[in-house]
C-alpha cells in the first residue's frame, strides 16, 4: 500500500470526512490509520477476543463510513467511532451466543494468545477486565471512554446521547463496582 499522503495526514478529521464523502478513499484510509489503535484498545477492553479485534475494528470503520452522513460533529469523530464499536461488539456477542461458540463474556480474551503477553499482563489487569465485563454496558462504556480514552463527561454524554450528569453518575457507579471487585 502506498505511504500516507502527507497532506491527508495533517488534515483534521472533519476535512478527511468531507474528502471521503467526496470520494477520496485515501482520506478514509487516513482516518483508519489515525483511530484504529484506540478503537482496538476499546474493543479489547470491552470483551473482544484478541483473534476478533482486527475484524471488529474493520467492521466498525465500515459501519462508520457508511453512516458518516449522520455524524453532525456533536462529538469528536473518534468518540463517535468508539460508540459504534460498542454496538459492533454487542452484535458480535449476540452472534456468538446464537452460534453457541464461547460467549465473549466468558472468553474475556484469547487464552491461546502471546505467552509473553500472558506473563506480562498483571493479575490486577485481568481482574479489572473480568470486572468490566460484569458491568452494565453503559457503565462499562462510560468508564472506558473516561478512564481509558481520557474523554470529558460532556464529550461522552454527546456521544452516548445522555447528559453529562448522567455520564458522571454512570462513571462513579462503575468505579465503585470495579473497586469492590478488585479489593
Amino acid at each position: 500500500m502506498a505511504s500516507p499522503d502527507p497532506v491527508a495526514a495533517s488534515s483534521s478529521d472533519a476535512a478527511l470526512i468531507a474528502a471521503w464523502q467526496a470520494g477520496d478513499e485515501q482520506a478514509a484510509a487516513e482516518l483508519v490509520r489515525r483511530h484504529a489503535r484506540a478503537l482496538a484498545r476499546f474493543l479489547a477492553s470491552g470483551g473482544a477476543r484478541d483473534a476478533d479485534v482486527d475484524d471488529l475494528v474493520q467492521e466498525t470503520f465500515i459501519r462508520a463510513f457508511r453512516a458518516v452522513g449522520k455524524f453532525r460533529g456533536q462529538c469528536q469523530f473518534r468518540t463517535w467511532l468508539l460508540t459504534i464499536g460498542g454496538n459492533v461488539l454487542k452484535d458480535a456477542g449476540r452472534r456468538a451466543a446464537r452460534e453457541k461458540v464461547v460467549p465473549l463474556d466468558d472468553a474475556l480474551r484469547d487464552r491461546d494468545g502471546d505467552p509473553h503477553e500472558q506473563a506480562v499482563a498483571g493479575e490486577a489487569a485481568d481482574r479489572l477486565r473480568e470486572a468490566l465485563l460484569r458491568l452494565p454496558r453503559m457503565q462499562r462504556e462510560v468508564f472506558l471512554l473516561r478512564a481509558q480514552q481520557g474523554l470529558a463527561y460532556e464529550e461522552i454524554a454527546a456521544a452516548l446521547e445522555t447528559s453529562a450528569g448522567a455520564a458522571r453518575v454512570h462513571y462513579h457507579h462503575a468505579v465503585r463496582r470495579l473497586k469492590e471487585h478488585l479489593e
Binding site: 478513499e25 478514509a28 483508519v32 474493543l43 477492553s45 479485534v53 474493520q58 498483571g122 489487569a125
Partner: protein
C-alpha cells in the same frame, strides 16, 4: 494526593493498559487496506442489488411485448367482445313459474347437480322477491 485519588489513578492506569497489546498487534496499514477493500465490495454488491431488478423488469417487458406481438400476428385466442348485458333486464316479462325455473336452472349450473324435486324456498317467494334473488345473483 489522598488514598482515594491514588486508588482512582491506579484504576485509570490499569484501564489504559487494557487492550494495549491488542492495539499494538494491529497492523494499521493492513487494516486500512482491508476496510477500503470491504467498502468497495459492499458498494459493488449494493450496485448489483439496484441493477438486478431493472434488468429483470426490462427482460420481463421484452418477453411480454414479443409474446403479445407474436400472438397478434398468429391470430391467437382473443377475448370475446360484446356489450354488457344483464339478465335482470329481461325479467320483467316473466311469470313467477318462469322465474322459479330460471333459478332452478341457475342452481343446477352452479352446483353441477340435478335440481331438488321440491324447492320450498322458491315456491314461497313472490315474483318481486324472485326477481330480487336473480338480480343479486348477477352481482
Amino acid at each position: 494526593m489522598n488514598d482515594h485519588e491514588l486508588h482512582d489513578a491506579k484504576l485509570q492506569e490499569l484501564a489504559r493498559q487494557l487492550g494495549a497489546q491488542a492495539a499494538e498487534r494491529l497492523n494499521v496499514q493492513a487494516t486500512a487496506a482491508a476496510v477500503l477493500r470491504r467498502l468497495s465490495v459492499r458498494e459493488q454488491e449494493r450496485t448489483l442489488w439496484w441493477m438486478q431488478p431493472s434488468w429483470l423488469r426490462a427482460a420481463a417487458a421484452v418477453v411480454l411485448i414479443a409474446g403479445g406481438v407474436a400472438l397478434w400476428h398468429t391470430g391467437g385466442p382473443r377475448l370475446p367482445v360484446h356489450p354488457s348485458h344483464y339478465v335482470a333486464e329481461d325479467l320483467n316479462g316473466l311469470s313467477a313459474d318462469d322465474l322459479r325455473n330460471v333459478l332452478s336452472g341457475l342452481d343446477q349450473t352452479l352446483n353441477g347437480t340435478e335440481p331438488a324435486e321440491a324447492e320450498p324456498g322458491l315456491n314461497e317467494l313472490s315474483p318481486e322477491q324472485l326477481k330480487a334473488v336473480l338480480r343479486s345473483l348477477e352481482g
